[in-house]
């Protein structure tokens, strides 16, 4: 797989790579702010294209990294191959009614699951690194970080409580 990138005057940046099987994928970050992705099957003449907004492109990127995506919950797994293949998963959870009104301390999240809540999104406002006394509200979206086992534990033990 050879990736090449180049700047095209007036257009933006182009990334292109050929897969081992001979298919080609090209991505263009255009100056208009949209992202176009072209795929060209080996032996085929005309590529097919899709145009995406930056948000849609990021979503596609998450899917391609192999993370599980539910309808509105996203997760990303990052692998640091230089650090003995350290894998960290970040997952978003929508806080259910059963959890609303409780603090992080009450729920004993760290002790029970090993995962950590690193951010909470409340009505378009982000709270980074919430304190143990932080009280969840209905409709909050929590960003949880941990190993994939810890995330699964979080989903089983905290979210259904």
């Amino acid at each position: 797989m050879a990736l090449r990138s180049l700047n095209l005057p007036g257009i933006g940046t182009k990334y292109e790579f050929e897969t081992d099987k001979g298919d080609t994928v090209a991505i263009f970050f255009t100056k208009t702010g949209t992202i176009q992705m072209y795929t060209l099957q080996k032996g085929c003449k005309t590529p097919s294209a899709a145009e995406m907004t930056p948000v849609e492109a990021r979503r596609l990127g998450n899917i391609l990294t192999g993370a599980i995506i539910d309808a509105d919950q996203e997760s990303v797994e990052i692998a640091f191959s230089a650090l003995a293949d350290l894998r960290v998963t970040i997952h978003t959870f929508y806080i259910p009614k059963t959890v609303a009104g409780k603090t992080i301390e009450d729920l004993q999240i760290r002790a029970k699951t090993g995962a950590t809540v690193i951010a909470v999104c409340r009505q378009d406002k982000n709270i980074i690194n919430p304190a143990p006394s932080f009280v969840f509200e209905d409709g909050d979206a929590a960003l949880v970080i941990g190993e994939s086992d810890q995330i699964k534990k979080f989903e089983r033990e905290i979210m259904v409580e």
Binding site: P9, G10, I11, F28, T32, Y38, K45, T46, A49
Partner: protein, 380 residues
């Protein structure tokens, strides 16, 4: 003043319509100008204010062109680009110049028409490549670099046309000196310029506007073409933070360039003594010359006539730079010819770039069918 506001309002409506239909807006602005102006209803007249606005539009168009000229970013295969660029230059300019000369235009006017034949509209070509999702085609990259090549040729032509009958050596010495000063300011004042651009108050946008207009004014005082100096200013400032300059100059370009197109249309006068016959011939030739040059480029670079067809259908549109030449150096007759040229080629170009894939597919399947029918019956 009322005329200006009427023109602005009409343009706003036209911009919405053209975006909705996703076809280039430039021909509509010119047509609106023709309808509202001298040749049509006569509601809008060109006055001092509108002339000033048009001039600002032109200056910002050229400033933008300069910003895009990042010569340090070179193409992977310059010889290919040079071949394609020269074919385009010789074929298109040759056809345009010869036809105009044979139709009775004086030498200089024929030269301007020839240049207008050659220079395509970067804005329309780039937008149509993006909107019609053709960026991945192998021809697209070449087309994009050919636009840069055309810009470079245009700079040389502007220098030639504006040197006129002045003392050439002194003239070019002044230009080189001004260029040196501008690059020195961009080089030694880089930190300062970037610190201005980083502010979030009115200073960056005020600075950008003032820099362009001051450069133009200084150029006129020094007796060198302001158009060239503004392109050079863009190129010099591109070594600092081109994206920030583009962002701050864009509103001025967007508004004043529309004014420029409309008032170009307003000043068109069909009574200037050019017959429809001449205009029609030149318009048809303008479409055909790009077909010939496109085919030649396709055959020499990609070895395929289909590639040539693709290059043709994406480079038919002439636009802002052809009009700029008409406004700067053309007589009213040349202006009328170029207005028609731009309107016809942009509309044909918009259609062709949208449907070229179909055309290509149609030709391929047709020739395949033909090949199947003509296949000799072998292996019995």
């Amino acid at each position: 003043m009322e005329g200006l506001i009427i023109a602005l309002f009409v343009c706003m409506v036209l911009a919405l319509i053209s975006k909705y239909l996703s076809i280039p807006a430039i021909p509509f602005y010119i047509l609106a100008g023709i309808v509202l102006g001298k040749a049509g209803l006569g509601i809008v007249h060109s006055d001092e204010i509108s002339q000033f606005f048009s001039e600002i539009g032109l200056l910002f168009l050229l400033f933008f062109m300069g910003l895009e000229l990042k010569l340090d970013r070179m193409i992977a295969d310059p010889s290919k680009l040079l071949t394609a660029g020269l074919i385009g230059l010789i074929v298109d300019m040759g056809i345009g110049f010869t036809a105009a000369y044979l139709l009775g235009f004086p030498l200089k006017e024929a030269f301007i028409i020839g240049t207008a034949f050659y220079i395509t509209s970067t804005a329309i070509v780039i937008t149509s490549l993006i909107e019609n999702r053709k960026l991945m085609m192998k021809e697209a990259e070449l087309i994009i670099w050919m636009e840069v090549f055309e810009d470079l040729v245009l700079i040389i032509i502007i220098a030639l046309l504006s040197s006129g009958d002045k003392d050439l050596l002194f003239f070019f010495l002044k230009i080189v000196l001004a260029l040196g000063v501008m690059y020195a300011i961009a080089h030694y004042g880089k930190e300062f310029l970037i610190s201005i651009l980083d502010r979030d108050d009115e200073t960056p946008i005020l600075f950008t506007f003032a820099a362009v207009l001051t450069t133009a004014a200084l150029a006129i005082v020094l007796g060198i073409p302001d158009t060239m100096m503004v392109i050079a200013l863009g190129a010099a400032l591109a070594t600092t933070d081109p994206d920030a300059f583009e962002q701050h100059a864009r509103p001025f370009k967007d508004v004043f360039l529309v004014m420029f197109f409309v008032f170009f249309g307003v000043t068109i006068d069909f009574a200037s003594g050019v017959d429809l016959y001449t205009i029609a011939i030149l318009c048809i030739l303008a479409v055909l010359s790009k077909l010939i040059s496109g085919m030649l480029i396709g055959l020499t670079i990609f070895g395929s006539a289909l590639s040539g067809l693709e290059i043709w259908s994406n480079t038919i549109s002439r636009g802002e730079f052809s009009i700029a030449l008409a406004v700067l150096y053309g007589s009213p007759v040349v202006g009328t010819v170029i207005a028609a040229l731009v309107i016809v080629t942009t509309l044909v170009g918009a259609f062709m770039s949208k449907y070229s894939t179909w055309l290509r597919r149609g030709i391929v399947s047709h020739s395949r069918r033909k090949a199947l029918m003509h296949r000799p019956h072998t292996g019995r």
